[in-house]
Symmetry: C2
Subunit: 329 residues, 2 copies
Amino acid sequence: MQIVITGGAGMLGKKLAREILKRGALTGAGGTPVPVDRIVLFDNIEAPDIPRDPRVSFIAGEIFDAALVRRVIAGDTGSVFHLAAMVSAGAERDFDLGYRVNLDGTRAVLEAARALARPPCVVFASSLAVYGGADMPETIEDGQAPMPQTSYGAHKTMGELMVSDYTRKGFIDGRSLRLPTIVVRPGKPNLAASTFASSIIREPLAGREVVCPVRPDSVMPLLSPRRATAAFLHAHDLPAAAWGWNRSLMLPSHDISVGEMAEALRRLAGEDAYRLIAWRPDPAIEKIVNGWPRRLDARRACAMGFTADSSMDEIVAIYIEDDMKPVEG
Amino acid sequence: MQIVITGGAGMLGKKLAREILKRGALTGAGGTPVPVDRIVLFDNIEAPDIPRDPRVSFIAGEIFDAALVRRVIAGDTGSVFHLAAMVSAGAERDFDLGYRVNLDGTRAVLEAARALARPPCVVFASSLAVYGGADMPETIEDGQAPMPQTSYGAHKTMGELMVSDYTRKGFIDGRSLRLPTIVVRPGKPNLAASTFASSIIREPLAGREVVCPVRPDSVMPLLSPRRATAAFLHAHDLPAAAWGWNRSLMLPSHDISVGEMAEALRRLAGEDAYRLIAWRPDPAIEKIVNGWPRRLDARRACAMGFTADSSMDEIVAIYIEDDMKPVEG
């Protein structure tokens, strides 16, 4: 069986590929493990640290190139993890490219999946950015109506709607995960408005100064890359009956203020690391971040076996363990 | 000022055009009435009873023909009423054409509107078909999360998301109305799964037999064409501040069982008319209709000045008054 990961050169895409390689098999449509023969990582940028494994190949291209996507999601592709996206601040800056990548791209993925002889499992990376609006409650529950306040959030909501519609028609077996902010992301800051939430831990740990563009009392729901990767695979392996008719799911999170995040850094790395954070609120970033959910009550996901990190200390420890030593092939 | 009505050859499109002609002006961006110089009706089928008025022109084409739509929504177009759509049962039958008409078509309209020198007012005809799902409550309130169970419902939800996103970016001043089932529709049955709700009144009134494909205890939220037309114009004329950040609105309705609808026919047209209804449930239609909302509590719309019909007798009387005599010019 072939697995395709779009956005495969991204942080989560690579971690997901490594985890699948480690497991060697994924649960197939019949509910039994099927050996993974090939993992195709599809992305528009090549990363230097693609897992080196004979089962892994990398294909470069744009996700909205429907003909190319159809050639990639082909043959005995049994599962697609659709992670490719233009993130929040990026899609705010380039409206047209945002729609092409996030809307046309998702449609290209779904159309390619639909063209396969056997309906594949499609796991779609959605986001808490689907929520928003002036009357958003302090804590988001499962029935909360999406009300995106960014183009990115609108695209993710539209993507979920298509995943559900293609699933209902029997074209795919789709599952959409509304991801909290992923922290701590290794590497460099990206164009996501939330990128600072990783930077304020990662940069001081490396001895570098960092600017935090929001106030310490901003509360954010977080999920570590390790648990996000596990969530993608758990979402994939659950039988269709566990999902039922509702294919969109808000994941559980660890909800914490930015100030408390910094306190965890102080506890684990000391006063000198903590002092590398410069608090300089940026109204544009604050407006986006404060429009996002603060706390989640993800009961349905918990009942389905998804789990949250238990503390900020655990989240930082996962980063140190998984990403601060050299990654093996 | 030019007004464009997509789906302009349809039942609501023509009624809307007649009402705008009668008024002669629409509220412009500045809040003052602006004379309507031209109304362009755009549709893929020509209707024999397009209003005959020097201000009205008809352009035939497909709504997903982005280049054509851009030539139509041009010049001094100040307002667009986007009613063109492939309806529920139609979009279930032809999946690909449904996406082209309802998703690509809406995007073409929004892109053309965005290209105008001045952001126009765009009123989008959405639908109660955005709601659904096994855990839908008996009565839908304003905060209910969309959970479409048809492609048509998914397309309408995606259309609303784009209308909101384009509005947030300042490209248009958009307003989306979630329409209840429009009853009584004149003319012939269409491909909407709900078409019977009009047929069971219209056909017996014309002395013709009719099949009702759902059971008498099915409850549906209804709105007369006259009030729907008034709602489009009220939605248009309200200042942007009355809409605020939430540009999607569930309209108020008269909620009634199909059996009670038939009783109104019996009261108004007698036993012979009533006996022309043959009750023959069709599982495919029942499945779609019973997946739709039954009752609405549209408080926000009521507070904004939108109104529902007061009784089924009123709804039937509106049909007799507006549509059973020849339509003037």
